[in-house]
Symmetry: C2
Subunit: 371 residues, 2 copies
Amino acid sequence: MPAPPVRLADVETPAAVVDLDRLERNITTAARYATGHGLQLRPHVKTHKSTAVARRQLEAGAVGLTCATPRELDVMATVCDDLFWAHPPVGAAKIARAMALPPHVRLTVAVDDLSQVAALASAAVAANRRVGVLVEFDVGMRRVGVPAVPALVTMAQAVAAASSLAFDGITCYPGHIRQPVGEQASALAVLQQRLLAASDALSAAGLPPRVVSAGSTPTMWRTHEVPAITEMRPGTSVYHDRTTASIGVCTWDDIAMTVLATVISTSIPGQVVLDAGTKALGREPMRGTDGEGWAVLQDRPHLVVERMSEEHGIIVLGDDPWRPSVGEVVRLVPNHVCVAMHNFDRVVGVRGDRVESMWDVEARGRAGLVP
Amino acid sequence: MPAPPVRLADVETPAAVVDLDRLERNITTAARYATGHGLQLRPHVKTHKSTAVARRQLEAGAVGLTCATPRELDVMATVCDDLFWAHPPVGAAKIARAMALPPHVRLTVAVDDLSQVAALASAAVAANRRVGVLVEFDVGMRRVGVPAVPALVTMAQAVAAASSLAFDGITCYPGHIRQPVGEQASALAVLQQRLLAASDALSAAGLPPRVVSAGSTPTMWRTHEVPAITEMRPGTSVYHDRTTASIGVCTWDDIAMTVLATVISTSIPGQVVLDAGTKALGREPMRGTDGEGWAVLQDRPHLVVERMSEEHGIIVLGDDPWRPSVGEVVRLVPNHVCVAMHNFDRVVGVRGDRVESMWDVEARGRAGLVP
């Protein structure tokens, strides 16, 4: 790893920049909330994909980490011995990679299909390991997860019957709850009822859930209003973005990740072209809140990247008096940080404008195409 | 590089898969068209970002390569000695990387601002190299480029006055011409008029353009109808995608790149969940043509990935009788291959279903954060 440049202005753009003070505050705030409400905190690493950041989360009190991909599992096993694989474990190659994690790593897997239970049970026997299982419960997101409580109980029983698996409880992702934080009460009440119904049915079957694990950043500060939940898995909150600020999960000054970009052209009147396009910012719409475009200037959030090509982002100035010169460097707040970060291999850590460190986005990508 | 698995079914998903027969045909067809019409072919590497693919393009007759990022320049300099940097050269770090290319590499750069000319001229002096320059002309895309002919001439004169620069001509990107191929005639006639006006003005100033370089894949087969153009720079056509097939630039059977994905959940009735989401497919809309969603099944193109999370893609089945099992492997055609490929570090090359080779997407990402 080369030594970091001293000044942010020397960094080649587009670049992913993380404000370390804000990063540390976001990590501490989440940990304090979880501790204060007796919740386990298991951050999702999909947002940062970095062992350097994961270490800070663990030091702040996270009980373990949540991963989506085998690559994330592989990388995070180097800094954490308690990993939750929150993605359906399907495919021999993926399962083999998970089973090849170091034996000291406690692995827990989310399942939503009996075929997954069977495949996982066999693979665990072959790997001579005992794998924890949370049955995925659909609580309204309609993505993955068993939607009906009786089927959830059947799946829990199948898990409990497998000697290589341990039924630990249920998991859900309330990603459909996207309204501003102040408007979440009724949706959270419905969530509590859903989770209680599932817990009661499992208990009646002799399988009371030890863990009830739930996302997400949009609902994180109201998790305690859903007392059935024992564990929270926010991902985005480590960095935050335009969307989470807009729905009130954080303030604008909590946003830790920005994309450093350079004004590369002003030749078309009325607009400014930056060197950050789809391959830096991603093309994610605002969700659960209004907002045009794909990113905004950090210090002029009314100026929006309205159009993008792969390596160009265009801000239409309209009546705004900002008239930057070619070469001016700006910082952009993307709509969705998790997708923006996935475009970068390396992060520049800053305090104010001083570059303090750099780290790799080690768990980006897939690698390991062969089983 | 590990040995490739023998069967496509053994590849961990999501994965970028390229059909080698189609790749080779796409490369040959583009080269034959260019030769047949007396056009220079300089493919844009942004789509494949791979030296393995670039080599095949050069062997087929490409005169050089087009790059957008310093990373692409660095990587492609290992296989090609004639590179065109088709992105405004702004920022000391970027220019320094371009100047550090091996001295035998002939570098040509697109500029659209006098400040770029000055910076490039000084850097070229310091690096003791002579850099070719094409002045970027806006022909209606309204992204970068000088929109007015007199300003274009002024910039060409500034280039010609710099001893370290060589004025080679003009470049444009007619990315606004996106209608189906059969409907492009009038837009191409306007383009010809624009380019002729620019050429005439430059000639009158004693600076006749030796090169008139233009994209793009959507217009590639009608480039000869714009006789002012001397060089074409298609990128997407090496792989093609749902968009280029939809506007008639290629047939469905010419699409060489697909994303291999696995059915990971069918637990929500009426839908199928795949393990390819935003971080595999990108979230690019169809442009210049209709089409819902973000990708379609290669062998059932009426089935569309309608919703995505980062690692989930959801196909809503409706009345379609397809009812795959969890574990079934499918191939997806993304809307925009250039952005999809940027999500992968490695490509699996196949003939039919047999895996023949793997290669790295070497020019993906940025690297080189320090000057």
